[in-house]
Symmetry: C2
Amino acid sequence: MKTTHSLLAAALLAAVAFTSTIARAADPLPSWNDGAAKKSIITFVEKVTRAGSPDFVPIPERIATFDNDGTLWCEQPFPVQAFFVFDRVKTLAPQHPEWKTQEPFASVLKGDYKNALSSDRAILELFMATHAGMTTDEFEKIVRDWIATAKNPKTGRLFTEMTYQPMLELLAYLRANGFKTFIVSGGGIEFMRPWADQVYGIPPEQVVGSSITTKFEMRDGKAVLLRLPKLNFNDDKEGKAIALNQHIGRRPIMAFGNSTGDKEMLEYAQGGSGARFELLVLHDDAAREYAYGPARGLPDVKLGAFTQPLYDQAKQFGWTVVSMKHDWKQIFAFEK
Amino acid sequence: MKTTHSLLAAALLAAVAFTSTIARAADPLPSWNDGAAKKSIITFVEKVTRAGSPDFVPIPERIATFDNDGTLWCEQPFPVQAFFVFDRVKTLAPQHPEWKTQEPFASVLKGDYKNALSSDRAILELFMATHAGMTTDEFEKIVRDWIATAKNPKTGRLFTEMTYQPMLELLAYLRANGFKTFIVSGGGIEFMRPWADQVYGIPPEQVVGSSITTKFEMRDGKAVLLRLPKLNFNDDKEGKAIALNQHIGRRPIMAFGNSTGDKEMLEYAQGGSGARFELLVLHDDAAREYAYGPARGLPDVKLGAFTQPLYDQAKQFGWTVVSMKHDWKQIFAFEK
């Protein structure tokens, strides 16, 4: 019996040693440089998941919400959905000969995208002309087909490859720790859902975004929803806090963004009781990605604005600010 | 070695016998009488969950949606949320001396509930006066406190005990088979969320309902949402199909209701590809619960209407109709 016990003890010791080696070896965020940002994330996750910790949060309350454009994937030189709009305008142009001279369509057809997106009214008009007039099922197929081949004109990479590797690791790390991850984006809810599961591991019911109005109809005895050219919900700024309540019904305990459009989401997350974590991604790497917002000392820009006042608020409110240049070892998912 | 093999074989045989005994013994729906309704549910669940079945549905697509009032719990003599309104009116009456003579409040204070709910306008007025003017956090506490003690005046039972035992078993059975269960109710989304997890095992993010408008505000440096006396979304009829798309982004493969308010939800579920299942609860047990709708040969009623045309459509569309009288061995959760 002595021998059996000794063997068992040796096996157990070996197993323990092996397990702790794995624990040390397995950095859950390998694309993050060691530093304050990475440390703040891991410290938070450990304190809310450790049984008996004064900051422990039960699994059902571990809600983490992420902005999409500029937070999970690249939003330059234009947000991805704008490229979808441009391609749809080109596809639909033969049915609209008047677009050749009619703004903002004429600018799109000439490739002057900056001019096409120069006002809120023009942006809305472009979206309604390209996102409405079909059923939700038809629109889903249009998006699926487009995203399968659409590429960023600057890098020649699929848009879905231009997701941020450190954020993909963060999503996986949080889910491995019992978090439910949501997208809460100013982008179209039905533009993101068809691919968010495959790209981010986030199912349709955990994607929240802006939407247009839909209308119920029976077609050939089958129920469909027709997409109308009318804004239903603008999931931006105050809208993000309202959508968090409407779709999730709990305040997230972690919230991630990169612009003034995310400010109220982070404030709403922070307004809950118990431990909370907020983070903003700062685009300060002109060499590997883009530098915009306070990193360039620029004034507020139309899309994806990380302003100086937001930066100041982040410092004041204790939000983590991630420097893409210094905190991220690798930026894009395709850089493998 | 012969002995070892025999022992092993005997142990395996015993294990197999034991397992199949458990399988036979464990009826997942013990409060359902054997019959067509129960059989249709089990047949469907088995065919969509069996690997290799031509009707197999992957786990993420196993979405089941349930109406609440009259489908998961009793909605008579009035829907539970109406009793909440009545109690709130009584609580707030000292601050509103004018309510003593002003309709519909005067009828509520006199206990003439039927008269108080006699028009859509009156119902809306009562809801806005009792559901708005506080933050979402404050409202959640008001609901939590109320539901903890509020009782059905006819039975003297807590409203939360007047849930249907067969439906609680069905929710658990579906979840054990990889389904994600949602409530999609005409009732208030923020009226249901505070207790749906405890009573039905459905977390806030899987509760969909009608809502009022909210407004983002910073109060003492803390983000809150203020509830305004303005309807945001009516989750009824066509609204249910629209909400399924908005909140879930997939068509449910199973949908459960009991009234004309659920018709479009069932049609929308059925409109998807692959195997689909729809069910209506028929209230035909005047002795153990209530008999209303086609069971009484009555015309359409204001609340909780299961009309004759809906009954005819159910037969035509192949929807399962559950007779509470014949299909349910036990009705309420408290009858144990």
